[in-house]
């Protein structure tokens, strides 16, 4: 009987938390979100060429990853490293800031997952995206 109560309670808690997260406003705009989006937008022009060549891919964890450095001339590989590092710093800060702006810093992992799916859905044809642990060309 105890187990039954625990089960229903767990199910209830799960539904409540899911419902609660469903209310997260991922379009929330704060000065922090605006600054991060602006910074990412400014960097996008530089990164787009590397998305297109397959050097950089959209990872399943909501970040970008250096997927195939050989698609980039040797002299540009450090630049790609720097861009990927800076983009990932912005992305991590963005997820944390949106969670915080929603009043729930603990939602950061769910917000990150939502964004990960969104980035991958919106990826342009020919870009590389990570799914099921492997890379696939969209």
């Amino acid at each position: 009987m105890n187990y039954l109560i625990k089960f229903w309670f767990a199910l209830f808690a799960l539904c409540v938390s899911a419902a609660a997260f469903a209310q997260a406003d991922i379009e929330v705009n704060t000065p922090g979100v605006a600054a991060l989006k602006q910074s990412m937008q400014a960097r996008h022009a530089q990164l787009a060429v590397f998305y297109a060549s397959g050097a950089v891919g959209l990872a399943a964890d909501g970040l970008v990853a250096l997927r195939d450095a050989s698609a980039v001339p040797l002299s540009a590989r450090q630049t790609v490293n720097g861009l990927v590092a800076a983009e990932n710093q912005d992305r991590k800060a963005l997820y944390a800031e949106i969670a915080r702006a929603n009043g729930h810093p603990e939602w950061e992992p769910e917000i990150r997952n939502t964004f990960a799916q969104r980035w991958i859905q919106r990826a342009q044809p020919g870009w590389w995206v990570q799914s099921g642990g492997g890379w696939a060309r969209k």
Binding site: P31, G32, A69, D90, K92
Partner: protein, 664 residues
Amino acid sequence: MPKKPILSFFGCLLSGWLLLATPLHAMQITLSVADITASSLAARGVRVVLAQDGAADLNIAELRWTEKIWRKVHVHCAEFLLSSARMTCRRGKLDAAPDLSFEFGYNFSSQRLKLQVSAADDERLQVNADFRVQPWRADVQLRNAQGRRLAAMLPPAWPSLVQGVLNGTLRLQGDGAGVSRANADLQLADLAFADASGLHAAEKLAGTLHLEATRAGRQWDWRGALDWQGGELFWQPLYLRGGYALQASGQWDGARLQVTRAVAELAEVGKLELTALWDANKSVLLEGTLRGNNLGLKRLFADFARPFLNESLLAASELTGRGDVDWQYHNGATQALTVALRDAELTDGQKRFMLRGVNAVIPWHADATSQAGISFNEGVLWGAPIGATAWQIAMRGREFSAAEIILPVFDGKLAVQDFHLQNEGGEWQWGFSGALSPVSMQKLSVALNWPEMHGAFSGMIPKVSFRDKTLKVDGALLFHVFDGTVVVNRIELFDPFGRMPRLSGNLDMRELDLDLLTRTFSFGNIQGRIDLSVNGLELVNWQPVSFDAKLASSPGEYRKRISQKAVQNISALGGAGGAAALQRSYMRIFDNFGYSRIGLSCVLRHDVCTMDGVEGSGTGVYTIVKGGGIPAINVLGYNHRVGWQELLTRLRRVLQDNMQAVVK
């Protein structure tokens, strides 16, 4: 007879059994040979077929050389001669490398071997070996040898050799146990390699390699010189171009590589001396030293340090000047590191900091106390100029401390007391307390691109600490500005050096001189004193997100006058409706007015400022300036809720346009 591969082979061949195949008109002889083994060579299932037309085919089921194994090796000699004196193969072909043709001859009595392998584009390998002398000798000449042929011999974990051309000589001597002396003089050109991920790759490498090695028992003594003249190398995260030379010597016993002395010449950097003991099986450095004097810091930092600092404050910085380094590594950890900087300059690409004329001697020891001396001539930190200073810092392991550091800031001084920096669990923590002696507000405001202010700025700094990416101020910061006091408390700054710094705290200003304040901001003149409290202040990326701010006339008796222009500007802040509140007939006559109280509050939430006035009624019209004396004027506010951005725009317009009051 010494056990050498070639001799073993023919020894076995002659002792093998001979089969005469029929019929006679197509006679061929097949020789099957027992396994052949030598020190590093083994062949299994060797079969030689001698054809009637003078050709011969050699089949080897499995050929093993060191760790490499080739299966089903087939060699065809179009012309094969075997006599009691010599054996010769001409126009030979190897299945595994059909583009190669070779010739070899072996004289049984003189025990001399000649081998020549050639291919298109004047590619040639020539071997002359003498197995009669002791130790035996083999000279190898390489001309335009293609590096890709070595690819199969390299360990699978290494990046693939894509291309490259080798020229030069290789001289080998040996005994029954194998090669005992090797001497190589090679020129490398157009060498390229890459691994699958592209993280370790090189293109167009060119240079020379000289190597001498002598074996005694299992141990090799070696000495080498590498001159890397051109090409580029990317070895994550390093990117290097040619211009390096390395001379090194040491020992190798098959498990450990000892570099007893190495000297690296780095272009634009200088000379580095190093030693190392490397465990090849575990791929770990056991011992190491690195020493360099008067090194050029610019390229040393850019090429070898900055690539590792991608996510740090120094990611976009440059270091120039000269310096010395002495690094001692034992038992898996750095035991001592001495760094000296001479006339160095550190500059941030994002203009957040700059230090010039840096001279430092930092003799750090893992388990001994020492003193570091650091000085610089000038610098800038987040727009604030810093004057010449010298610090003494005590170091013990990962703990650094200084009793007092004086930092000249603008025309004042920041005295930092009880500074300590330590590493706990891989995270750096630091803390200090201090005091700021008067800084001219004029200099401060100009440096920070603020409206030019007057007066002085000074204060006490209680305990400041940084841990878990959060900077905290325990107690209250006390400053003096505009002839009043500013108390800042509960300050917490999360991730101050990160992408999204977040600051929270409270601000309490008392008895600011409105005359000084309004003069500074070209707001029109107000005489009197004001208190401003800002509670629950939260800034994200230095932009306000929320606060409860309240501005009110300070208690006490003092002159209270407000100019026509100030009235107009306060009205403009209230939006279009504010102007209607002005008592226009008064405005035509008087330049300034008396008032009894000024009061304005703003509660910022979700980008909206909810405003109220002196009384704080919460609804309807509210009073911002309550009249008093003769002539008196009331300034009223009508809008309780104003968008924060709209309010900022109005304020900017008022301050920047130096708005003139227009009275109708």
